[in-house]
Structure formats: structure tokens, C-alpha cells
Symmetry: C2
Subunit: 205 residues, 2 copies
DNA sequence: TAGATTGTTAATCGATTAACAATC
DNA sequence: TAGATTGTTAATCGATTAACAATC
């Protein structure tokens, strides 16, 4: 009864709200309204109130939402009120960028290992990490108990890597390769590929 | 009459179809069905037929769709039957990755210039490019007539950069910074930020 | 108290799915 | 001809918006 199923589309908007709220907090703001938050993220005030109210009554009539309180609640809902270990597969340019990315801090994530199948890259240092061989990936991920992976491998290798990740117990994959992945129902995949994103805009030009 | 407005959500799926079709073509396939394509991209056959039929009758009863014909049509619809010049703002790790990305080839895009405001980076070589100063960005983009930009600048600089891009005539921005941008109605923005993408999955873990 | 803004309900709008005649 | 699969219509399902009582 408690667990009415929340639509994916609402879950997908929460990180955007969270990001905007954290920005407001950084700027020293203490409270906000659905109206103001909506202007920041380009979503109607009604929708923001509806989305948030799925999870509880977090606002106050007349005054709106306490920014810090709402941040805490959203982090809890999204389960980013902790730090998730993430593995990175593919030590190319994009792999380097993600390994060095400092935007994971305070957002709930940290990279813990990087793998590549290129023997020339294995052993190489990337920041504080040493690139590991994909041959050892399955066991390493299992033993670390990592549930989240980011893949920056070529399209031709992506499905094979995904299969291995799933086998190792990974349940969420952020896939930078330009292919749709075939995974079991209980594994989530997010796709992000520059060409596809650009192609979503050219129609309107 | 001719121009019934096509929903954004349909336009957003077309690049995914296109990507899958190009992959099938690479594998030597000649025809496909809404059923088969749907299995590849995780979308129902009915929806694929409905989406495609918005633009014409591209299939044949009994045999399905000619892959090459459908590719050509989708490229035309999405306006990627040409090569778009794209500028890149921000010459950090991610900027490097995008500058060297070879997935733009045959997808309708090519990077033509890279800008950064860090005087230490200006003049530096990235592949075949020389990093240019953002001070000269506005004039350069205007004179080149570039309509598409990718931004990999820090969140704090993103809005300012976006304003300049819009002023220079850019109409589509692929924004890697973790902030929502404020732009005029006739400018399209696509967001892609690793933390936000990861946060869309942790809820389900 | 007066003004502001929430949470929620009902109304609207839009997207997805099911089904099937048409036809290759 | 028999089988397959499209394009499209109608039915269903889900998401968004408008409106407002409740209340800070």
C-alpha cells in the first residue's frame, strides 16, 4: 500500500530538481517555491508540486520549500545520500575524462577502478588509478560488490562488456557507446552518446 | 496542412532507430520489420510503425522496410543527410575526448573549432585543432556561420558561454555542464551530465 | 488579517497499445 | 494462394495542467 509505483518519468526529473536546489543552496538561498524552481529547470510549477508530493508533504503553504530539507529528502529518495562505488570500462579519452571528473563528489558517486582490454593501456596510471585488465574484471567487480558501471568502449565491444558486467552483479550501466544494450529486466541502462544527442536537435534547425 | 506538428518525443526516438538501422546495414542486412527493429531498441512494434508513418509510407506489407531506404529517409527527416559544423567550448579532458571522437563521422557532424578561456590552453594543439581564445569566439562563430555547439565548461561558466553562443547565432547546444541553461525559445538544448544520469538509476537499486 | 503557496482533485491533453483491413 | 507485415483507427492508458480549498 505504501509502495505505489512511481513513474520512471518522475524519477528522471528528480535529479534535475536536486541539481537546481543544490545550486540555489550554493548561492546562499534558504527557501524556494514550485514557481521559482520551475523557472530554473523549465518545468511547470504544478508539475513540480505534483512530482514532489508523490513522496510526502515537504512544503509549507505560504512559504514554499526549505531548500536544504528538500535536498535531503531528494537525496534520500534517489538513494544518493550515500556514496556508490562505480567502475569504468574503457580507458580512452572519454574514460580519462570520467576518471578525472570532479562532478561526482557530493553527488553520490566515486570511481573505484578502471578496466581496458588493450594490453598497452593495462598498468598505465590515470590520476590515482592503475588501468586493470578486463580479463580480471568479472572477479574484481564481484569481490568489490560494485553495482554501477560506466562503459566507454567501442560500439562493437559494448554488448560483450555489458554481459560480463551483468554477470559480475552490476545493476546499473551508464553506456557511452552508440548501441542499445540487451540486459535483463532488473538491470537499468542509461544511454548517452554525443551523435544521438546532436541528432535530436538538427530536426529543429 | 502538410506540416502537422510532430511531437518532440517522436523526434527523440528517430536517432535511436537510425543508429540501430545503420548497425544492421553494417552487418549486411537488407530489410527489417517493425518487430525486429523494436526488439533491437526496446520499443514496441506498434510504436515504431506509428512513429515512422508520421513521415510517409516507407514500408511494404508482407516484407517490412528496406533498411537502406529507411536510413536515407530518417537522415533526411533529421537533417543529417549533410555535415554540420560544430564548435566545442572547453578544452579539458572531456573537450579532448569530444575533439578526438570518431563517432561523429557518418553521423552528420564534424568539429571545426575549439575554444577555452584559459590562456594556458589557448594555442595548444588538440589533434588537428589549435585551441582558440573564447574572447574571439563570438566573431569566429558568426563568421563561420556555425549553428551547433557543445559545451564542456564548468557549471559556473555555462550560462555565460551559452549567452555568447546564442548571440553568435548558435541554435543548438549540447551541454555537458551540470546546469539548466536559460536560452530563447528558438534555441534547442540537450543536457548530458554523468552524475544526473547515474542518479536516474540509483533509485532502482 | 491578508497574501502566498502548498497538496490534491478533476479536467484536459497526449502518448501508447491493440486490432485489423489492406496488400505485398 | 497463404503468410507476413504494414499503416491506421479506435480504445486504453498515463501524464500534464488548471483550479482551488487548506493553511502557513
Amino acid at each position: 500500500m505504501n509502495v505505489k509505483k512511481i513513474p520512471d518519468i518522475i524519477i528522471g526529473r528528480l535529479p534535475v530538481y536536486l541539481r537546481a536546489l543544490q545550486r540555489m543552496a550554493d548561492n546562499g538561498a534558504k527557501t524556494t517555491s514550485s514557481q521559482e524552481l520551475g523557472e530554473h529547470v523549465g518545468i511547470s510549477a504544478a508539475q513540480i508540486r505534483k512530482d514532489i508530493s508523490q513522496f510526502g508533504e515537504f512544503g509549507k503553504q505560504g512559504t514554499g520549500y526549505s531548500i536544504q530539507f528538500l535536498i535531503d529528502k531528494l537525496r534520500e529518495i534517489l538513494k544518493v545520500d550515500r556514496v556508490w562505488d562505480v567502475v569504468l570500462i574503457g580507458a580512452g579519452d572519454l574514460g580519462h575524462a570520467l576518471a578525472n571528473y570532479n562532478g561526482f563528489q557530493n553527488r553520490g558517486f566515486r570511481v573505484v577502478a578502471i578496466f581496458d582490454n588493450d594490453k598497452n593501456k593495462v598498468g598505465q596510471k590515470i590520476g590515482e588509478f592503475t588501468v586493470e585488465d578486463t580479463d580480471t574484471m568479472l572477479e574484481r567487480i564481484k569481490s568489490m560488490g560494485v553495482k554501477i558501471a560506466m562503459t566507454t568502449v567501442p560500439a562493437s565491444a559494448a554488448q560483450e562488456v555489458a554481459d560480463k558486467l551483468v554477470q559480475a552483479g552490476v545493476r546499473a550501466i551508464l553506456n557511452y557507446a552508440p548501441v542499445s544494450l540487451n540486459v535483463p529486466e532488473n538491470v537499468k541502462v542509461q544511454y548517452t552518446d554525443p551523435s544521438t544527442n546532436l541528432q535530436r536537435m538538427t530536426y529543429y534547425l
